[in-house]
């Protein structure tokens, strides 16, 4: 949270502040952990929240940027998780002697997992991206549940029992770096020609097509890329939790990711990440309430959505994710960021006050 605040204060200056803030944030968390102010339980939750953030950001690419309502992110996550876990557990096990080799092979397994997820995304994307809106959401959900059924019958995946005894290879530094890399990848993709095509599709598919964008291809590209990143998140997730079973990747996981994205603010990667961080940690903060904790959690969610329908942070991008673009006043109002809308309100108040003063002066 410290990072975003600092970035916000210097909003219209160069975004290099966040490049300094990232290592600072990392060091601060490490110091908090080493001095045991941050106990290992919260450390684990933080890592989980970061992984949720990766998947929520990948969902933002397809839902927020391309405007295609996909609901099957847990399926791609499970492909990444199972593939990489089976690789590290069954194939690379013997070669993982020293830490150097084991981490190298871990990265390889993560990449292969993500690539397989991307391939599955390609296979699913071709038929289903012909559909639109709610129908697309439902068919992607259907495919993700089918994937889950396949894990229940697939022989090497431990069937319904799942895989356990996965090595704990996802550590905080790795996850942190993965978040940063994913952010940069997504930012660059979105700012590239393909990404701009995706945004055009979101705004108006018909117009995008008449402007010469191959909408089918662009949608499949963003879908595949989104699946790749979700698979990467899944691989990290498997090696953090140390066991996986098909039930972990049910529809509940997909809807959780959707919740993180929309409660944080759809259309912005940084909002998706922050949404995932907040809404993963919120139920843990509420632990003291016992059985009532999820009731309060749901209530908070409903209140937030009723008061801020565009999500807590809106479509606003923070820091280096903005890539040096300045937001126009119109964009700011449209994006509905938490801080910018607050600033707007204050400005409007000041203007009104100034107007009153002027009016008073005129009378005298």
């Amino acid at each position: 949270m410290g990072k975003t605040k600092a970035v916000q204060l210097q909003k219209d200056k160069k975004s290099y502040v966040s490049y300094i803030m990232i290592p600072v944030l990392f060091v601060v968390i490490q110091i908090l952990y080493r001095t045991e102010i941050l106990n290992s339980y919260w450390y684990q939750i933080l890592q989980l929240a970061c992984i949720n953030g990766i998947v929520a950001m990948s969902l933002n690419l397809i839902n927020g940027m391309t405007g295609q309502f996909s609901l099957g992110q847990a399926g791609f996550m499970s492909v990444g998780a199972y593939t990489s876990a089976m690789l590290t557990k069954l194939v690379f096990q013997s070669a993982m002697g020293n830490p150097f080799a084991s981490y190298g092979l871990f990265f390889l397994a993560l990449l292969i997992g993500a690539a397989v997820a991307a391939f599955i995304g390609f296979l699913i994307g071709i038929p289903s991206l012909r559909l639109k809106g709610d129908y697309l959401a439902i068919i992607t959900l259907g495919f993700s549940e089918i994937i889950r059924v396949l894990w229940r019958v697939f022989p090497f995946s431990g069937r319904a029992k799942g895989l356990n005894g996965i090595q704990k290879l996802s550590t905080f530094p790795i996850i942190f770096v993965a978040v940063i890399i994913v952010m940069i990848l997504l930012r660059n993709f979105t700012k590239s020609r393909y990404g701009r095509g995706c945004i055009a599709i979101r705004e108006n598919e018909l117009a995008a097509e008449t402007m010469g964008i191959n909408t089918t291809k662009a949608k499949i590209k963003s879908f595949v890329f989104s699946a790749f990143i979700a698979g990467l998140g899944g691989g990290l997730y498997a090696h953090l939790m140390m066991f996986i079973n098909p039930e972990m990747f049910s529809q509940v996981k997909s809807t959780d990711m959707l919740l993180f994205l929309y409660a944080g603010g759809v259309g912005s990667y940084s909002s998706a990440l922050l949404g995932a961080l907040i809404f993963t940690m919120l139920p843990e903060f509420l632990r003291f309430m016992g059985e009532w904790r999820l009731v309060i959690y749901a209530l908070i969610l409903i209140i937030i959505m009723l008061n801020r329908p565009k999500g807590i942070f809106g479509k606003h991008e923070f820091g280096f994710m903005r890539f040096g673009d300045k937001e126009s006043a119109h964009q700011k109002a449209d994006n509905g960021g938490l801080i910018s809308s607050f600033v707007e309100r204050r400005k409007a108040k000041k203007l009104a006050q100034a107007g009153e003063n002027n009016g008073g002066a005129g009378k005298q």
């Binding site: 839902n63 309502f69 038929p127 289903s128 012909r130 559909l131 709610d134 129908y135 439902i138 068919i139 959900l141 259907g142 495919f143 549940e145 089918i146 889950r148 059924v149 229940r152 019958v153 319904a160 018909l206 529809q251 809807t255 959707l258 919740l259 929309y262 409660a263 759809v266 059985e291 009532w292 999820l294 009731v295 959690y297 749901a298 209530l299 969610l301 409903i302 959505m305 009723l306 329908p309 565009k310 999500g311």
Partner: protein, 293 residues
């Protein structure tokens, strides 16, 4: 052959329950364009209402059913007023997330309330059943009664939608909300009655499900709601006829597939969904809307 009919009866029974719940999904979607994720929870609330009604007012099927439908219906209307009404003019997906929140809220509230709790409860036997055997097929009077009742409820709904003033209002609102408002239709009234009818049908579905599988849990709502939602989509979401047929198709397919293999039965709903959406992108009875420029 006798086994085939046996399974068919079970499938019909499950299918009519799915159809009852799917109707609520489809009606709400048709009118406010919202996938009401909390709809399955209305079913769960209906089932629990019947449970408590049986506990306090005696095991009378008619009383329990009416209580369940009333309570579920009223909760449906309240949910709409509190959580969905302020979202009418907001992005569609925000309303969807609110619906997710409502579903989590209802489920966990029931789990946290001391008199409901997370422990499964045994649903009372509301109907004494007799087995009948015809041509080697055994079925119970309860099964027949529930199937007939469910079909009667659906016919009643059909009557309301097609022949009454409220129904005409519903059809008008689902065609074009603004135009309907201009014609003097009380939109909020129509939406409330839609929620009431939809949730009441789900409540009835909950009672029927409780009689069929007498273990009551807080999570049956989301589990059954999901299947029913898929049924609604298979039939063509927004179409009432579609929800009925979709539900029955899903029920029968699920029973037959589960008979072959439990894991296959688990996934067959989704397989049917994918095949149907790929062949007919708007579902069996849905109408494809063309995009106007």
């Amino acid at each position: 052959m006798s086994q085939f009919f046996q399974l068919l009866i079970y499938g019909l029974q499950l299918g009519t329950i799915y159809a009852l719940v799917a109707l609520g999904y489809t009606m709400v979607y048709g009118i406010v364009d919202l996938i009401n994720f909390a709809h399955g929870d209305f079913l769960m609330l209906g089932a629990y209402t019947a449970f408590f009604a049986a506990l306090f007012a005696g095991e009378n099927f008619v009383v329990c059913l009416i209580m369940a439908m009333l309570v579920a219906g009223v909760i449906g209307v309240i949910t709409d007023r509190i959580a969905y009404k302020p979202m009418r003019n907001q992005p569609k997906l925000s309303a969807l997330i609110t619906a997710l929140g409502v579903s989590t809220f209802i489920q966990n509230l029931c789990r946290a309330l001391p008199f409901i709790g997370p422990i499964p409860k045994a649903f009372p036997t509301l109907l004494q059943s007799k087995s009948i055997k015809i041509f080697g097929v055994t079925f119970t009077t309860t099964q027949i009664l529930l199937i007939v009742l469910a079909i009667l409820l659906m016919l009643g709904l059909n009557f309301i939608v097609n022949k009454t003033k409220v129904g005409r209002g519903m059809r008008a609102v689902s065609l074009d909300r603004d135009a309907a408002a201009l014609m003097g239709i009380n939109i909020n009234m129509v939406i409330s009655s839609t929620f009431f009818i939809g949730a009441a049908l789900a409540g009835a579905g909950g009672v029927f499900y409780g009689i069929m599988y007498p273990t009551l849990e807080v999570s049956i709502g989301s589990f059954l709601g999901n299947k029913a939602f898929i049924a609604a989509v298979v039939g063509g979401i927004g179409s009432i006829k579609g929800a009925m047929f979709g539900g029955i198709i899903m029920g029968i397919a699920e029973i037959f597939a589960t008979n072959l293999n439990a894991d296959v039965g688990f996934g067959v709903a989704y397989a049917i969904l994918i095949v149907i959406l790929l062949v007919k992108p708007a579902g069996l009875f849905g109408k494809l809307t063309t995009e106007k420029v």
